[in-house]
Symmetry: C2
Subunit: 450 residues, 2 copies
Amino acid sequence: MTTGENFTLLTDLYQLTMAQGYFRERKTGRATFSLFIRSYPRNRGYFVAAGLRDVVEFLEGLSFDPAALDYLHSLNLFTDDFLHFLSGLRFTGDVWALPEGRVFFADEPVVEVTAPIIEAQLAETFIINQINLQSLIASKAARCVRAAAGRAVVDFALRRAHGTDAGMKVARASYIAGCAATSNMRAGQRYGIPLAGTMAHSFISSFEREADAFRAFVESFPNNATLLIDTYDTLHGARNAAQVAKEMAARGLRLQGVRIDSGDLEKLAVEVRRVLDDAGLKEVKIIGSGGLDEYDLARFSAANIPYDSYGVGTKMGVSADAPWNDMAYKLVEFDDRSVLKLSTGKESWPGKKQVFRVHDDQDQLCGDVIALRGEEIAAAEPLLTQVLHGGKITGRLPTLNDSRSVCRDELDRLPEIYRAIVDPARYPVQFSAGLQDLRDAIQTQALQAQ
Amino acid sequence: MTTGENFTLLTDLYQLTMAQGYFRERKTGRATFSLFIRSYPRNRGYFVAAGLRDVVEFLEGLSFDPAALDYLHSLNLFTDDFLHFLSGLRFTGDVWALPEGRVFFADEPVVEVTAPIIEAQLAETFIINQINLQSLIASKAARCVRAAAGRAVVDFALRRAHGTDAGMKVARASYIAGCAATSNMRAGQRYGIPLAGTMAHSFISSFEREADAFRAFVESFPNNATLLIDTYDTLHGARNAAQVAKEMAARGLRLQGVRIDSGDLEKLAVEVRRVLDDAGLKEVKIIGSGGLDEYDLARFSAANIPYDSYGVGTKMGVSADAPWNDMAYKLVEFDDRSVLKLSTGKESWPGKKQVFRVHDDQDQLCGDVIALRGEEIAAAEPLLTQVLHGGKITGRLPTLNDSRSVCRDELDRLPEIYRAIVDPARYPVQFSAGLQDLRDAIQTQALQAQ
């Protein structure tokens, strides 16, 4: 891991109890697990893949350190020979995956892991934990970016994201999905994401007069100051900002912008724009923030509310209208035998898979086919690529900017009807004949065997 | 930090730009910031405090390491003298806080930080990030535990929690709130939380016959096996489990339980109970899981559905019906001057505070008073205690089990009407006369000054 932390024990107890069960039964066969989302949350028409880099780095480094082994020993659940086996365990499998930034749909495998079953099982929890979160947020952020219709969206979510890791991963995933910058300094440091930020109400309140706070701030940041104008009265704040901007102009400096963070954000933007324009400050930008999400941004865009950019925090950072995806990691093949699960509402498709994407003659996405790996689908692009071979990363991992470009290009090719903020159309996803035949055969077989 | 990671840079850019503004203005005065939740999400009548330990450990270790300073330097935003100042910065302030496990209500300060303003400002993001998440989850988990009406609730949220830190903190916070165990092994290792787990569908699928999978698993865990019975057909699975249980009984062993994870969880529990009882297996427990939340658990409890315990995952781990709280950290005093913010919908209360709790003669909670620190409220218990003095932790931090006891005791004393799962009554929280007078005075003053 880039953080140096060993997350091998960040797993569920049952992964280890099952592993001991496999170990005892000498089940060393190779298993394939498929990671996919079962269904769309409301108003979601597509997902954006993210989190793969963390997964491949985790798998490459998977190992139980001495403290972990000591802890496992202390539980009196595991046999000595099993713990000895764990002490030497490394991930030796193959992984196929959808590159970060690509769009995917319900039922489509995003990651497929093939490895000795114990290894593949032990990796489950971390894989879901990371891909689920980062894809959830990338999907939400893509919606925000689209709704902003060309205005920059900046990630302000760190404080209300669910913990430190979520704060980092929200910055990362939302940048892949098209956000312009983040307020999170550690994400800037670790991922090289551009930073953006303004000032908080506390800075204003620490001065007796708002205008004095503005003056002090622009002294410190004469070239890139954005003033927060809603601490007391937004229009009065706008006039104070205009006054300071004029003082700056007299010294050859330019105020970058003002931020509105509360109140009737639509009405205030129009009024603040008028105050600034009347003061000859047409170039001073207005940033909107305060509980915004894609539904607000779409409304603002439709009404041409004069915001130049947005700070979007909590609701993007927790994907407030859909805070989880029904993402599952299911055994689809074991020891060259295809398997499936028939649990009500949780049926799975057997076998190793490939996803094929069909483009029309305008290069727009027009449908996907989920097929068996090895099947050929004419004139379609296979999407899953091998990222680990024998436990080692195959080739160069894409940079974050690579993944961001991939995402922009793909979203540009996704027709509008699937990208609608509300009630998007269902993108056509078919199962290949080979996959359907396999499923029917296995299903009959599985039920008969019980 | 217990993890060894330095999270000082896990902050928003504006904290550092404001800090440079304060530094340049030689604003070295002491500031007090108050952390509180502005309003109740739907169906929430109380909150459970959690996350303080991470905050005090963070504050005690706050410092910019060389890599952080290099990164800040590389941004070309900060002056050399400011970066030099940051290199020696430590947290030297005082912190008062509500102990973990205690119940709190909207508007009540949970943490109050008093420190030189730059230090207090730099701590904001991490403090909100941790207390917001952990209190959010503790509050949600307390609802689940209550709804389960005496049946054990186990945290299964790790995979769908928002990242690695959330996975750990959900285990921690839900344990404080009364969960009996977690599936998260790393949380078991780090926090000493009891572990629980069963098996996954993949274990079953890896065998050709379900009954063989059951036999293999109980061989490995003869004393504590819980069998997952819904991979193919739940009632058939129950009969297979009953068969294996009888085989075990013949060897003097006892099957611990079975788990149902899909389908009509109410109907199936009744039917599975009948299968087990008819086989003379009254002592075999039934665990329910699969998308459960407090609303389901309350329904099951009311209908006496024969579950003995529950695994609760995603919806508790992301607080699905209320995935964020409107938690804010506001400047309330600077340089001995009380301050406030008047932004629409985000008004704050000035001054250092104390929260007083009034109990009735049955020792039930009957109302809180938010007062100025130093005010006396007769026959009421002051809730905030000092946890840091001059940047150092004062006294022993409570253990996780201490906090869990505090929570249980307090929830036992919170009358039912405030604990309702749906539409709870509003617990009475008053503002003291001293606080109201101060606010009126400051408000007039602040508006006149602008």
